[in-house]
């Protein structure tokens, strides 16, 4: 059936003349994590993307979306990407949550002439020397939220910070980003295993470190496990994190022990702009829960894609790229533009975990960085 309609489409295109800039649909392959400890992130990515397509009406229905679960495993992600490129014939890929998976998929996809729009992972390797004309990060550069946390910790006059992240590309970017803007003393620096679920050894080190605060980057199930065990351990040292560690997918499982924790984010459900209001209300109506940062980024990615599709045809790669780079869409983050390495230039806020109508969520308490690009743009030669 699929083959038949494809054939019909081809014949129709031939009949109508090939040269015409026919505004055809775009086939998008979404590779994301839909099972295991990281499932919450992928589900929000998928749902945010689908919501934007749904709200766009007819324009949204011209996007042909294929979704597959990468199980948070790089080898599976590579297999899915190959399948999507070779047999599904997608025009672009998106949706990868984890940087180690992105590093396994993105360079080969762009080398095969496919666009990649990142809804989340944005490792430093792809922002600097490894940047690519067909690769856009719609989320951030990995270091950004951690840089903002470093700037916040410095501004708040915190003297000794214990820093901790998983040992994978985004974890290394995280601690590098934090230290770029925090010049105080470190009480300790620890790399955990990716997907680790028991943090007893790290909590013991934190207890003994004499730190004034703990900066931790542990997205998804890792963050939930850590926060629950931290609360049970009786260690009272205040926590600081990037949005990932205190995101909407984590808070319900952690409970009230998260209240008051400061975290840095490029987006928040309470940001005042029309696009964000429509997004948050639409997401709650559609899925019955509050959206996370991952959902917001995926929603922006879909809207960016739709804005580029309205201007040009994906078959004309240069025009399509220019249309993407213009970022001519209403972002839920308010102001949004791309820097020269096709990574965002945006504000990063400090949020605090609060309880609104009995539901744990985040609210903005200040701005950590204004118009922040990233540390690698200079190394990008495109």
């Amino acid at each position: 059936m699929k083959l038949k309609s494809g054939l019909m489409g081809t014949i129709a295109a031939l009949v109508m003349g090939l040269g015409a800039a026919q505004a055809e649909g775009v086939k998008v392959g979404m590779i994301t994590t839909l099972s295991g400890g990281g499932a919450g992130l992928g589900v929000d990515t998928r749902d945010g993307f689908l919501l934007a397509l749904k709200q766009a009406g007819d324009a949204g229905s011209t996007v042909d979306l294929v979704i597959e679960d990468d199980q948070q495993k790089p080898d599976i992600a590579v297999q899915i990407a190959d399948k999507m490129i070779q047999s599904d014939k997608v025009d672009m890929l998106t949706g990868i949550v984890w940087s180690n998976l992105a590093m396994a998929v993105v360079p080969s996809a762009t080398a095969q002439g496919k666009f990649y729009l990142s809804t989340n992972a944005a490792p430093s390797q792809l922002a600097g020397a490894g940047c690519n004309a067909r690769y856009f990060s719609v989320s951030y550069q990995n270091d950004n939220l951690h840089e903002a946390a470093g700037a916040y910790a410095k501004g708040a006059g915190i003297g000794k910070v214990f820093i901790m992240a998983p040992n994978y590309p985004a974890g290394q970017d995280s601690l590098a980003g934090f230290k770029r803007f925090y010049d105080g003393a470190l009480a300790g620096e620890v790399y955990t295993q990716l997907g680790q679920t028991d943090y007893a050894a790290e909590i013991a080190q934190i207890r003994a470190s004499g730190a004034e605060a703990v900066f931790f980057f542990l997205p998804g199930g890792m963050g939930i496990a850590f926060m629950k065990q931290y609360a049970a351990s009786g260690v009272g040292i205040p926590l600081i994190g990037p949005a990932f560690s205190l995101s909407q997918d984590i808070l319900p499982a952690v409970g009230d022990s998260a209240l008051g924790i400061k975290n840095t984010s490029s987006w928040s459900p309470d940001l005042h702009n029309a696009a964000n209001k429509a997004f948050v209300a639409g997401f709650q109506a559609e899925y019955g829960r509050l959206p996370s940062l991952y959902a917001a980024q995926a929603y922006d990615t879909a809207n960016l894609l739709l804005s580029a599709m309205a201007k040009s045809d994906v078959a004309d790669a240069d025009a399509f790229r220019a249309a993407l780079a213009a970022a001519d869409f209403a972002s839920v983050r308010g102001k949004f533009r791309f820097g020269p390495n096709q990574h965002p230039v945006q504000d990063i806020y400090v949020r605090e975990v609060v309880k609104v109508d009995g539901v744990l969520t985040n609210a903005i308490v200040g701005t950590a960085m204004t118009d922040r690009a990233d540390a690698y743009a200079d190394q990008c030669k495109m």
């Binding site: 919450g40 290394q172 955990t192 007893a200 050894a201 003994a208 049970a232």
Partner: protein
């Protein structure tokens, strides 16, 4: 010093958890000569049973009981339906069949409970931390795991060495045909042993699921460690499983805690953290290789 004691307790707790897992595996391997890759699935069954019953009834302790019952029942069922046909086959057939069981259990739990992890809440009685003599603060629930592990170890020693069932299990390990000829119902004995091992794995799953999370596929990483434990301890020996589990638990936790600090003396801080944690995660396999070099049959293994 306080830090070291806390880390040692963490190692002990981790070791006890591994022991619960390895005890059943080593019994099944030793007594029946069966390689059961699906042991991790029974651990998952226990965790899900605990999460489900705890959520439905609001009682964590009922959940723990449910984990024992559900895992034992699943174990007995699997033994009667599948495993029983495998005793006379070679190890490759056993590996294939029990690997298939992993897939069946994984998809089954995914179908029943979905792909999202479940989270258990600690009962108020066991929540929070206590201060031990010497000023060490330690989470109460982890102390409880150490206690449960110790009680199970004592119970198993008593069962194997002092009861009629234990005599039969040891006899079955030594000579299957002879004890069948003496009138012991060997099939029922095997089902009991298998269900006992499954119940212990289920208990481990429930306890670990409470600290961490309950999700599909949680059993497989632990299964690998449990095999490391029984290879170090010697196949078929409960004592070996206990010593092996404690060795592995201590090595893993103390390695992760101490190695980055040791590497920091010879290289820069962040490199030391990366290299140290990488080496620490290899440490238990290095330990296993060393034990195999010196005693190929394991520390308390009978056969060479």
């Amino acid at each position: 010093m306080v830090l070291f004691i806390e880390q040692a307790l963490n190692g002990l707790q981790y070791g006890m958890m591994l022991f619960l897992m390895a005890a059943g595996l080593t019994l099944v391997f030793g007594v029946m000569g069966l390689i059961n890759l699906a042991h991790g699935s029974l651990y998952t069954v226990g965790a899900f049973a605990c999460a489900w019953v705890a959520a439905a009834t609001g009682s964590f302790f009922l959940g723990l009981v449910a984990s024992l019952v559900a895992a034992a029942a699943a174990g007995a069922l699997v033994e009667v339906v599948v495993i029983r046909r495998l005793y006379h086959r070679d190890h490759l057939d056993q590996v294939l069949a029990t690997f298939a069981l992993i897939l069946v259990f994984s998809e089954g739990t995914r179908w029943l409970f979905g792909s999202f992890p479940l989270y258990l809440t600690l009962p108020p009685l066991l929540a929070g931390a206590v201060t031990l003599p010497g000023g060490v603060q330690y989470p109460l629930f982890r102390l409880a795991i150490i206690g449960i592990g110790a009680v199970v170890a004592l119970g198993l020693f008593f069962l194997i060495n002092r009861t009629r069932l234990g005599i039969r299990i040891r006899a079955g390990e030594a000579d299957r045909e002879m004890i069948a000829a003496l009138g012991v119902d060997i099939e029922r004995l095997y089902t009991i042993v298998f269900a006992l091992g499954a119940a212990l794995a289920g208990l481990a799953g429930a306890l670990v699921g409470t600290i961490q999370s309950v999700q599909v596929g949680m059993g497989e990483p632990v299964l690998i460690l449990a095999f490391v434990v029984i290879i170090i301890g010697g196949i078929g020996s409960i004592k070996g499983a206990l010593i092996g589990a404690l060795l592995v638990g201590m090595t893993d936790v103390l390695g992760k805690a101490l190695l980055p600090g040791l590497f920091a003396r010879v290289m820069a801080g962040s490199d030391a953290a990366t290299v140290g944690s990488a080496v620490a995660s290899m440490l238990i396999y290095i330990l296993m290789a060393l034990v195999l070099l010196v005693r190929p049959q394991g520390l308390y293994g009978q056969r060479g």
